[in-house]
């Protein structure tokens, strides 16, 4: 490696090189302001990205569920039976009776 002796800068050159204005006093406040703004922006972007992800996922799941799907005959018949029972007078009468029985039994 080339060995070089340290040479000195001329005094005038060094003085001019060293002439630097002071660090602006407002700089720290500006830096903290920018850090905070970037943090808020980062969180906002993250929030928006998360919202978009959830929306896209929900949309995809909804789309993937086959809208024209039908039940098997057995399940359909069972559901129909449940539906008839819930909407019938028998159900109303039974539920009143159960309420009556509960009242009588717990009072004892």
């Amino acid at each position: 490696m080339e060995q070089l002796q340290e040479n000195q800068l001329p005094r005038h050159a060094f003085e001019q090189l060293a002439h630097i204005p002071p660090l602006p006093s407002h700089l720290y406040g500006t830096i903290i302001g920018k850090i905070n703004r970037r943090r808020i922006m980062g969180r906002a972007v993250f929030g928006i990205a998360a919202s978009i992800l959830v929306a896209v996922s929900a949309f995809t799941v909804t789309r993937l569920a086959s809208p024209g799907a039908s039940y098997s005959a057995e399940v359909a018949e069972e559901l129909s039976g449940v539906n008839s029972y819930i909407n019938s007078d028998v159900y109303q009468a039974n539920s009143s009776s159960y309420g009556y029985y509960d009242e009588v039994l717990y009072q004892e």
Partner: protein, 175 residues
């Protein structure tokens, strides 16, 4: 280089704003000097470089592994911020520079007025050389530290600075 204590660095890493302020107060004046000279005395650009430096420092504190001195790490960020800004400026001014007369450049044999000479010399050298001159001559960085910051070989930086200083001495005349 003088370093701030490890506890302050540790506290700043944990998000302590007072510790980050202490880091800033300790390192920003050096960072400013480097940026001001590397950006060739452009206060606005130097301000931007120091801002970018400390935003990056704040965001990357957790990643600082202690492989180099903390000061070296910060000044490397300053150096890179300056180079990025200069590169942006250069792209933005590319067309302008073709059309503008930037004034005569200083040749090695030209005699220079003492009052303006250093400015002319600094204008005629590369940003990397300006950084080298400032960091070595004013801030007292070792060549090993400069190599760590710039990613170049310490020996070649030593040679580069030697030649640069010889050129300056020639332009100023021997004292």
């Amino acid at each position: 280089m003088v370093e701030i204590n490890d506890l302050t660095i540790h506290r700043a890493r944990k998000g302590d704003r007072a510790a980050f302020r202490a880091l800033y107060d300790f390192y920003a004046p050096f960072s400013w000097k480097i940026a001001y000279r590397t950006m060739h005395g452009d206060v606005q650009a130097a301000t931007e470089a120091v801002q970018e430096t400390f935003i990056r420092v704040h965001n990357s504190l957790a990643k600082f592994g202690g492989g180099s001195a903390f000061s070296t790490w910060i000044y490397r960020i300053t150096y890179n911020a300056c180079m990025t800004l200069l590169s942006k400026q250069s792209r933005a001014n590319e067309m302008q520079e073709f059309n503008e007369d930037t004034g005569p450049t200083v040749s090695s044999t030209e005699s220079i007025d003492m009052k303006e000479d250093m400015q002319k010399i600094l204008k005629g050298i590369t940003p990397e050389e300006r950084f080298l001159l400032t960091a070595r001559e004013m801030l007292g960085f070792s060549f090993e530290e400069l190599a760590d910051i710039t990613g170049k070989n310490a020996g070649s930086l030593r040679t580069q600075l030697f030649r640069l200083k010889e050129e300056i001495r020639t332009k100023f005349g021997e004292e």
